[in-house]
Symmetry: C2
Subunit: 159 residues, 2 copies
């Protein structure tokens, strides 16, 4: 339950790749596609949406690609997902546009709203910068593992 569509998932991963080029190295769709194993054509759709939303800008021609319009610390996962999948809306009848004649006296209405707010709050605190840091941690951990493995091998305890 409560799945995110691939568009949202790929979108965040793509933004993470674009963030790696911050502040001035344009990252091409091709590069993102290769690194994140997502098709170029599908990424085009996703990045196009994010560009129209103003989260990234594009540079055409050879050497071109996408650039973050703001610092990685100022782009939260919440805003990326909001552009690609719309606002958090656990139950469709919470949407003020769609409306629901049962809202008043509905015991679950408050519940879904609280949950939605909690999710939104959480995703708003996580930024691209956090993901970049996370990767550094992952890489450090891998490096550490590698060193440990090498040391073990050198000590004849490999395996």
């Amino acid at each position: 339950m409560l799945k995110l569509s691939t568009k949202g998932q790929y979108g965040v991963r793509a933004m993470f790749e674009v963030a790696k080029g911050y502040p001035d190295r344009p990252v091409s769709i091709k590069e993102i596609a290769r690194r994140q194993e997502v098709s170029v054509a599908y990424l085009e759709q996703i990045l196009s949406t994010l560009r129209r939303a103003g989260l990234i800008s594009s540079v055409r021609g050879p050497g071109g690609g996408y650039l973050l319009t703001h610092g990685p610390a100022h782009i939260s996962i919440a805003v990326i997902l909001r552009e690609l999948e719309g606002p958090v809306s656990i139950a469709s009848c919470m949407d003020p546009e769609e409306g629901c004649h049962r809202v008043e006296g509905c015991v679950t209405h408050t519940l879904w709203r609280s949950l939605g707010e909690k999710i939104d709050a959480f995703l708003s605190t996580i930024t691209l910068d956090d993901l970049l840091k996370d990767e550094r941690l992952l890489m450090d951990a891998a490096e550490h593992d590698r060193i440990v493995t090498i040391k073990r091998a050198a000590a004849g305890q490999g395996g």
Copy 2:
């Protein structure tokens, strides 16, 4: 984004109605259907799932219906939704059964897992008993409004 299906939504609302009959008054599908404005046929599917999961038991024949198998304070929204919609799984590639060869070194993996855990934790703290209390609050508020309205009307300030 992060929508709940109607099955989950109706399921919680149905369980709320069943909870009203706790501990010994069976609540029929018909009654639930009327109160929650959901079709009988659809509710049959939903309640059948919940019964097989052991959350409710059924009593056949005239005067029959459904009963909670445990106290309302011991049935969380999380377990109801889990039975109807499966476990929280923000991204499908987090599911250990489906698997994903990119898990290691994937920056979003940790993110989705954290979010999933947060959601699960929240939904686990809310029980049917909370919904029952909530309704009492709602009714009290309505009663209060009604009294105020009556007093105003009596004082010639109605509207």
